[in-house]
Amino acid sequence: MIEAGVLIDKNGCPFHWHLPEGRTGGSIPDTRSLWDVIWDNRDHVLGFAHSHPGGGIPAPSWTDLTTFAAIEAALGRRLYWWITSSEHFIRLEWCGPEKTDYGFRTSEHTPDWVGELRMYSDHETDGVELILTMGS
């Protein structure tokens, strides 16, 4: 199993699967391409989700938190950040006051794309960037 990611639009739909080369069971590498997609869709993006292989309630790493903060600083607005494990699904958002202070909540409602994200984590597909037509 390796980490995978997906961008979600304001309709709650996935529009960009982020499956770059170099993903591991514990990381997704820095890529310019992800930022380019976020910036090009800055008016439509609601947030980004990524998977943590394994079970239990996932928690953000320091890398996750500083990436959240950097992207939001560049965008000039806040996003939602979801993290899934094989069993649980949380949503994080900035709660302040420090730049890396993010609170989370679990949800009983699990969107369909969570299953797809877990599938991409289970199947090690490297170097794939899947861009869906907005609204599909």
């Binding site: 980490e3 990611g5 591991t24 514990g26 990381s27 997704i28 590498p29 820095d30 890529t31 310019r32 992800l34 930022w35 910036w39 800055r42 990524h50 943590h52 790493s61 890398t63 996750d64 500083t66 990436t67 903060a69 950097a70 992207i71 600083a73 560049a74 965008l75 000039g76 607005r77 730049k99």
Partner: protein, 93 residues
């Protein structure tokens, strides 16, 4: 040399572009293309703090420590070197 908005950019220099606070802008003056990442971030931080990048509002607390410096050599379509500062995007450990 290529002239960009009145400021000549020599072959050893680069235009610096930064995205911050939902806006995108360039440092008014070119910098040495081989400047260190630390120097680039320092110049951009000072410029943003003072409102010195057209299009980007002044922000005294701007912090580019978690931004990445990307460098692009001149091309036929863009006949000058380019340095871009954008947020990092790794996740996990």
């Amino acid at each position: 040399m290529e002239e960009i908005t009145g400021n000549l950019v020599q072959s050893t220099e680069a235009r610096v572009n930064v995205t911050y606070s939902g806006q995108n802008g360039d440092l008014p003056d070119p910098v040495f293309f081989e400047a260190t990442d630390g120097d680039v971030k320092s110049w951009v931080t000072e410029a943003v703090a003072n409102g010195g990048i057209p299009g980007i509002p002044a922000a005294s607390d701007a912090d580019f420590g978690d931004f990445v410096v990307d460098r692009f050599a001149a091309t036929e379509d863009r006949p000058y070197n380019l340095i871009q500062l954008r947020p990092k995007t790794p996740f996990g450990i």
